[in-house]
Amino acid sequence: MAIVELEKLVKDYGKVRAIHGVDLRIEDGEFCVFVGPSGCGKSTLLRMIAGLEEISGGELRIDGQRVNEQRASERGLAMVFQTYALYPHMTVRQNLAFGLENIKTPKDEIARRVAEAARMLQIEAYLDRRPKQLSGGQRQRVAIGRAVVREPRVFLFDEPLSNLDAELRVTMRGEIAGLHHRLGNTMIYVTHDQVEAMTMADKIVVLRDGRIEQVGSPLALYNEPRNSFVAGFIGSPRMNFLDAVVEAVNERSVVARDASGARFEASVDGAGLEEGAAVSVGVRPEHVTFGREGGKPGTVQTIEQLGGNSYLHCVAEDGALLAAHLPGQTAIRRGDAVNVVFRPDFTHLFRKSDGMAQKRLVVGEAV
């Protein structure tokens, strides 16, 4: 059980700064996911918390105690690696017991905890095998088991599912989430896959270039992205963005017009916006509708029919690409002319100058 606090945490590699003063507080028992594109510093940040990377500046506290100077072996955390990092010369049992042996746990206690973890993760049958003799999914379980037996204050996961196939990934995602419910420990999970982040997290931390872009619950990030980067990163397929200029600002909405003359109304706070300001209009594919008038005309280029869902990719007359996600199946065909309509309540508006979002006045799917 532990609260992890990061205060102005900095990491320098020589003259290059990888982490730019990150502030974050992870509550006791929280499942926190670091997400971002590759090279954003999420793994570095995790390794700094683990103690595997030196902290160049700032303070890291676990349960209020500064641990900057503590070695990885002294912090009482456990980590699951992307490559699993199982000791190839030891059996599964020895792999699980290694950490406990190092802190001089009594033999019967080790045996008890190994048996318990093996039962929980269903790896009892492989306890005497070597990692080489296991499949990817089994290795993954052993790697998690090695963390579980230690009963650590905080679990750290470094992209643990990226080496598994798609089906297994979904299963393991559920198991890790189940593990969190059962154990209730604080967990920090790094991934570049926003679906993993959305499905598992209590709190998502979106990182870019060593800076935190936004922290919040999955739905908060989805509904109220702070800027166009977060809006584009969270949600799949990606949010549609159109360049436009502000035409009118009133109390309930802002109207913008793009180069082709199409008008979009967004139910957002117009504070700070003036007529003629450059903005980005954003609408998620699942909020795109097709109507007769008042939208942006275009042609359907490709259709992906998944049975339960349909994805349409349209090209507007001015060349802009727009994706739409329709529930169920659709009668629209490739080459059909459509009129893409954005509903004001689901339209986001971002300032072109700094990419920041205008506050939405109507939030949530329920409205």
Binding site: L52, Y87, P88, N102, R146
Partner: protein
């Protein structure tokens, strides 16, 4: 399976030119490599007299003797090749000038005079095992063997330990000057050993290690080859494993001892073979440091057989064979690691 492998041909079902050349090359190489060894082994079972014989024989043959009634000593048998008694096998009683007085072993009453050029000694296959037993009875082989084993085993253990620790630091820790240190270590390969001889001797004698096995061991344990070999191999061990061990509360020593060392086994085996060969066959340095015969290694003892005036070849050859045996055994046990170890530590 071995047979079907040996009879593989490049030509379909029959020998083509490549097969002939391959076989010829391999057989020639086999003769070149094993011929001398086999010759030494065979000769080690010959008596001193048989060794002096010309032309030499391949098999250890000893002159045949027979006990003849009326003579106390066994008499040597000869086959007569010319003259009136041609074809007979006779025992020689004594030799007088060019004539030899002989007797028929079957009928001791008959005596003959035979020209010594008309007879050849009868010989039989016999192993002169006394060459070996004399090593233990007169030459204190056990002591030299123990000296050699002690130096080889202790030096190898220390070599493996020191070199692997250096290699661990050079491959898995980032510190300023790491490359420089590594280059300096490898650069010592360029210094000929003879240049070091005098300075090292001065150091060893100042420390008072002359005439002690430690005087042979300490100067030899730090080998650039070993550090290089192990470092290259350890570079292939994923850092994640080390990090995982650190997360598992392992101290740096434990990371080295429990993770890195066991995983370097193939490279360690190669270094063990090298080190055993180096120390076991080492001659020049022990010759300089060890002056008292009770400290001699086998190689020095072998050298001491070679006197100014005469060399006792029979025990010398026997000791050579015994000296070869342990190293052959070590090689046979560890050889499967050599190719894998070198292959994996070289590239990648």
């Amino acid at each position: 399976m071995a047979l079907s492998f040996l009879t593989l041909t490049r030509g379909r079902g029959r020998f083509d030119l490549a097969d002939w050349l391959t076989w010829a090359y391999l057989v020639l190489a086999l003769l070149l490599m094993f011929g001398p060894v086999l010759w030494v082994a065979m000769s080690s079972f010959k008596t001193e007299a048989a060794l002096q014989e010309y032309p030499p024989t391949f098999l250890p043959l000893a002159p045949q003797t027979a006990t003849v009634e009326g003579y106390d000593e066994p008499l040597q048998l000869f086959r007569v090749t010319a003259g009136e008694h041609e074809g007979k096998v006779l025992a020689q009683i004594r030799r007088v000038g060019l004539m030899s007085q002989m007797v028929d072993p079957a009928d001791p009453s008959q005596k003959f005079q035979v020209n010594i050029n008309d007879r050849v000694p009868e010989r039989e296959f016999a192993l002169a095992t006394e060459n070996y037993s004399v090593l233990f009875e007169r030459f204190n082989f056990g002591l030299y063997f123990w000296n050699s084993v002690f130096i080889t085993v202790v030096a190898t253990i220390i070599t493996v330990l020191f070199n692997s620790m250096a290699a661990f630091a050079l491959s898995k820790y980032k510190f300023r000057g790491r490359t420089l240190v590594f280059v300096l270590i490898v650069a010592t390969l360029m210094i000929p050993p003879t240049v070091n001889l005098v300075p090292i001797y001065l150091v060893v004698s100042q420390i008072g290690l002359v005439n002690s096995p430690w005087g042979v061991i300490w100067p030899a344990v730090a080998t650039p080859t070993g550090v290089f070999l192990l470092r290259q191999y350890m570079l292939t061990i994923p850092d994640d494993l080390l990090d995982a061990a650190r997360m598992d509360h392992a101290s740096e020593w434990k990371v080295y001892w429990r993770i890195v060392l066991p995983l370097s086994a193939p490279a360690l085996a190669v270094l063990v073979i090298f080190s055993v060969m180096w120390r076991w066959n080492e001659f020049l340095w022990p010759l300089i440091v060890l002056n008292r015969s009770e400290q001699f290694t086998l190689q020095l003892a072998l050298n001491s057989f070679q006197g100014d005036l005469q060399t006792s070849w029979a025990p010398l050859l026997a000791m050579t064979v015994l000296t070869l045996l342990p190293i052959t055994l070590v090689f046979a046990v560890l050889q499967k690691y050599i190719t894998t170890g070198i292959a994996q530590s070289g590239v990648k």
